[in-house]
Symmetry: C2
Subunit: 316 residues, 2 copies
């Protein structure tokens, strides 16, 4: 690694991804860090535009995230939602009072003509975040999940049905009309390393990789591309990634994750529990770093980020 901090691009989705992105920010990268975030989970509720993954990254990096849930703001109150319930409004999606502020401001600014990239930049600056938080695209994209119960909106599958349905297919509606925002393209073009955070490969990283041109840009970059496996000991720490990989025909392991990213991946960080998998991944032409990947504290996040950056630096 150079004496100066390298330019880093991280791709992130939900809670695990936001934790590693936070770790990268804690290494002092500041504005040399760009975090490209999944927006295919975005949806409208009560007329408000909600961006769950952007919010998780914004709240985590600004230190206000609720550590117990991974979503929402710590210490938030629920008086608005309680009053909405009284009016017969929907209550299946938990929205705190401070969280509502984000959705209200975002919705208003989108309505006034700002792009989701511009809105997110404004929110991040207001929260004191130095890293660039970059939505994967400015066009609307919607993850749809095919299940034996039918085709479901992502939030219907994920929150209302608590991701219990078997996923037999995933589509990103609108993705063919999406394009890589200039800031994302520039960040990737000047990146000295690209980090795929330990987010769900199918529905968190998957939509980002599906933005037309994105996979080509990762294939073409001279910067090392390194993933951190979200599957540890055959399980996802959180969420349905393990079951989703299985029902979609992937191996439920770091090997399965490496295979999904195989065409552009130079290295993958796997957990000590999965040490035995390293030879199989190396056989794919992908380098491995074996370390502790479970992030329980801010120190864990920073340490994993530093090890991942060092690993990427050695692959340059």
């Amino acid at each position: 690694m150079s004496a100066e901090h390298p330019r880093i691009v991280a791709l992130a989705g939900g809670v695990g991804g936001a934790k590693l992105a936070h770790g990268l920010a804690l290494t002092g990268l500041d504005e040399r860090l760009s975090i490209v975030v999944n927006t295919a989970d975005d949806f409208e509720l009560l007329g408000l535009h909600i961006s769950p993954d952007l919010d998780t990254v914004l709240y985590t990096l600004s230190g206000v995230a609720n550590p117990d849930t991974g979503w929402g703001i710590k210490g938030d109150t629920f008086n608005t939602l309680d009053a909405i319930k009284r009016y017969g409004g929907p209550s299946w999606f938990w929205l705190g009072d401070r969280d509502f502020a984000t959705h209200i401001v975002r919705t208003e600014r989108l309505k006034l003509g700002q792009s989701i990239s511009e809105v997110t930049g404004g929110l991040a600056r207001a929260l004191g975040i130095n890293a660039a938080i970059l939505p994967m695209c400015d066009e609307p994209v919607a993850t749809m999940v095919n299940t034996p119960d039918g085709r479901l909106d992502f939030q219907d599958y994920f929150v209302q049905r608590q991701h219990q349905s078997h996923v037999i297919g995933v589509e990103f509606e609108g993705i063919s009309n999406a394009s890589i925002p200039a800031a994302v393209g520039d960040a990737l073009a000047s990146a000295e390393a690209v980090i795929l955070c330990p987010s769900n490969p199918i529905v968190s990283i998957g939509p980002i990789l599906s933005v037309p041109g994105m996979r080509d840009q990762l294939n073409g970059t001279t910067a090392p591309v390194v993933a951190v496996s979200p599957i540890i000991g055959g399980q996802a720490l959180k969420g349905p990634a393990d079951r989703m990989l299985e029902t979609l025909g992937h191996e439920v392991s770091a090997v399965g994750v490496a295979e999904i990213y195989r065409d552009f991946l130079n290295g993958i960080v796997i957990d000590e529990q999965d040490r035995d998998l390293a030879p199989r991944i190396e056989a794919l032409g992908i380098k491995t770093l074996v370390t502790g990947t479970i992030m329980r504290s801010d120190d864990d996040r920073q340490r994993l980020a530093e090890e991942t950056l060092d690993f990427a630096g050695r692959l340059r």
Copy 2:
């Protein structure tokens, strides 16, 4: 008065009007009471449709109004607004967390195609209100205030400048396209008394009377039309009605109020402090009832409502 409760229509605007409307509800009129409410103060903030006068009536009649301010919900918290301030959003209009719920639900339902009448009916039912809360019209109308500082939006004049500007003219933008909603027309047609609540005659009752056909309907009704003066001892209890009457060339007294309503008014309730004004009002052909009109408690509201209904009954 008949043994059964009469059908009553009340016209109301802000806090004073809502108090008497509440008093009328407390007499047990229930669904025989229709309250026609000013919507010309409605405005958009943060992309949300806010209806200050409708909310004051909804909150007052459902018993959740903040008794200290007259607006907002008692015991409400301000976490959403605090977070909005952090994002650089507007903070000049105080909105509590439970209050936000009303604006969010109203805005969503309007967006889904409901009229403001339909939305208001739904909110009132959810809050357990038996009286019909009827917006003066379903079309957007905006009160504009002409002042030496220029032409101001009503909320700019009223909240941001705390109604300190001299009012030299008032316009209700969009009023010529407004029409009396069917429910308001039906209520007036079957009314056994019409009560003009002690609201600002210019900017609260004024817009209601300016809906095309409204003044004609009040002129044509066989039901007694009775006002309660919002001016007591030459002053408004709350708000700028006194200064506004003065700068617009009206007498700042119950006589001035009676003159504004003279073409259709049969009687006016004036405060004991204004007993001496009664002969001048009677000389206009308008009957007077002199009583205590200051409403400090729910009992005051109900007692004034009962006296006003009895007075109207004697004018039938």
